[in-house]
Amino acid sequence: MTSTTLIDRDRPASTSPEVIFRAENICVAYEDIPVLENITLDIYKHQITGFIGPSGCGKSTLLRCFNRLNELVRGAKTTGTVSLYDRDINSFHPVEVRRRIGMVFQRPNPFPKSVYDNIAVGLRVNGYRGDIDERVETALRQVGLWNEVKQNLKKNAWDLSGGQQQRLCIARAIALQPEAILMDEPCASLDPISSARIDELLCEMKQHYTIIIVTHNLKQAARITDRIAFFNVEAWESDDRLETLSSLTHKNVPLGYRVGRLIEYAPTVEIFTRPQHQVTLDYLSPGTHQHSSSHSRDRQY
């Protein structure tokens, strides 16, 4: 790993948003079954971008395209390009991409090691030569875990509570000082207090990191994100759609087959106050089947 990637994160956020990721015509299929069709969007630096939409619309799949983690899934095939600062991420070694772009998963997945080692192992595998103790402490302080665990850094991370584990996973990611952090429903398995604490943390982190977060919690999305991308599962209606996927799958996917699409991508305020599409409005309208996917699926716009 080159040390040039360890750039100083402490400079102030620039006022005009700079594009960090550019996804173009992303299509993904698992085992010849397409799940995501023609996604094109830009992710801006030092912003929190939220991906929302019903289950199965491919939000998490898209998220995993940004650090090339989909490649490790058996039977996954991706077309289109994702660029990091205008460079195709496929031209990097996958290890470098993942080292520069951190990820936090839906279920807390700390390693079955001590709290200290959970953070130190990431530094060690990447050949960090600085003071590991100091970096561990900084990361734990940033996620507000330091005071809770400083007495016993040797404690096995699996003995922490769920909220603590998830904050440890975030600390583990930010200890590497990534350029962006991908979060796949980081609060899905947490109680409201832990969840609120993580929201606070994300808002603080925004000054230094670019964050992409998948969430089903619309309140969370409204509270912390700067921009929102709304995805939906839709059926194919005509044959021309199939052509875009011909490179992706050998199977003859029938008309009416459901695939994830990007419906709307706009600043959070725009999405919540003036959505351009009826499906978005249906999904966001409070009280009426907020979390039900079937509701918005069945409408046509």
Partner: protein, 309 residues
């Protein structure tokens, strides 16, 4: 069976569920005793065997028995050379089959792509685990005794160990793959997401968690190897050895002729004199003690790694 008759009686009830708890409890009880009987049969057979061997062999066990070479006179005969041969062979088998078996398992599970070739290898490895041991003996005879004679020294400890290692290799590979598969995928993803290479993920996160399972599989494999007689007879392990492999020169040591406990026992059992049969019973006890000691060591190692993980 009575419960079938009882079931028929309640079919006339208006409810669409047949509650009929007593029948279900009865089936439960019947099944419990059936499984219990299976355990009893297995245990009783084992106990009878052990008691029979102990009655015959225990009086014969003595320091003289352990420290003497084989002899024509049953009361002077001992199994020192067989005991030492077994220890040499088992150490070598472990040294050969652990790295190769675990390495192959890690490659197949963590590194290889899912192609028809890797699937073919997988099927073949599973089949190899079921190949009769005498076939491995013939393989060892041709490859290690004849072709590789300059290396192995012919009918030597090294040849025997290499043959037995081949025999148990599939067991180690399958056990390794099973325990790697049991490690949750979320940990691999966490490792990769932190920018670790495949090797780093395996070394730091996957292997330590899988190690207890891998050790258990290796113990099973070695327990099978220690009792094998057929392949060693095929490659020409001797039945009468009155010297020990030289310890000061390991290369010469592993190239010397040898015998092992099962062969010594087999040899004694096939003699006409009853005294030799007593020797055989005592030999079986020694073999079992060695086996238990080996397993105990492995269990201790496993528990130690389990605590660390």
């Amino acid at each position: 069976m009575t419960y079938q008759n009882e079931g028929a009686e309640t079919t006339g009830s208006t409810s669409s569920f047949e509650v009929n708890m007593s029948t279900r409890y009865k089936i439960d009880t019947v099944f419990k005793y059936a499984t219990w009987a299976a355990v009893v049969v297995a245990i009783v057979v084992l106990v009878v065997l052990l008691v029979d061997v102990a009655v015959d062999g225990l009086p014969r066990l003595s320091w003289q028995f352990l420290s003497s070479m084989p002899s024509r006179k049953p009361e002077e005969a001992g199994l020192l050379s067989a005991l030492v041969g077994t220890v040499w062979v088992m150490i070598l088998v472990a040294l050969i089959c652990f790295p190769i078996g675990v390495g192959a398992g890690i490659f197949l599970e963590e590194f290889s792509k899912d192609t028809w070739f890797s699937r073919a290898i997988e099927i073949n490895i599973n089949n190899l685990a079921g190949v009769p041991s005498i076939i491995y003996g013939l393989l060892g005879l041709q490859v290690f005794v004849r072709w590789l004679e300059p290396v192995t020294g012919g009918r030597s400890i090294l040849t025997g160990a290499a043959t037995l290692a081949l025999l148990v290799l599939p067991i180690v590979i399958v056990a390794t793959r099973e325990s790697l598969r049991a490690v949750p995928d979320s940990l691999r993803q966490a490792g990769f997401a932190l920018g670790a290479t495949r090797w780093q993920v395996v070394r730091e996160h996957v292997f330590p968690l899988a190690l207890p399972g891998i050790l258990t599989g290796t113990i099973l494999a070695l327990s099978r190897a220690i009792g094998e007689t057929a392949p060693l007879i095929t490659i020409g392990a001797l039945t009468f050895i009155s010297f020990l492999p030289p310890l000061d020169n390991p290369i010469e040591g592993v190239q010397s002729p040898f015998t092992v406990l099962p062969i010594q026992v087999y040899n004694w059992v096939s003699r006409p004199q009853a005294e030799f049969h007593t020797n055989a019973a005592a030999g079986i006890i020694v073999l079992m003690v060695v086996l238990l000691a080996m397993n105990a060591t492995a269990v201790i190692l496993r528990n130690k790694f389990q605590k660390q993980a």
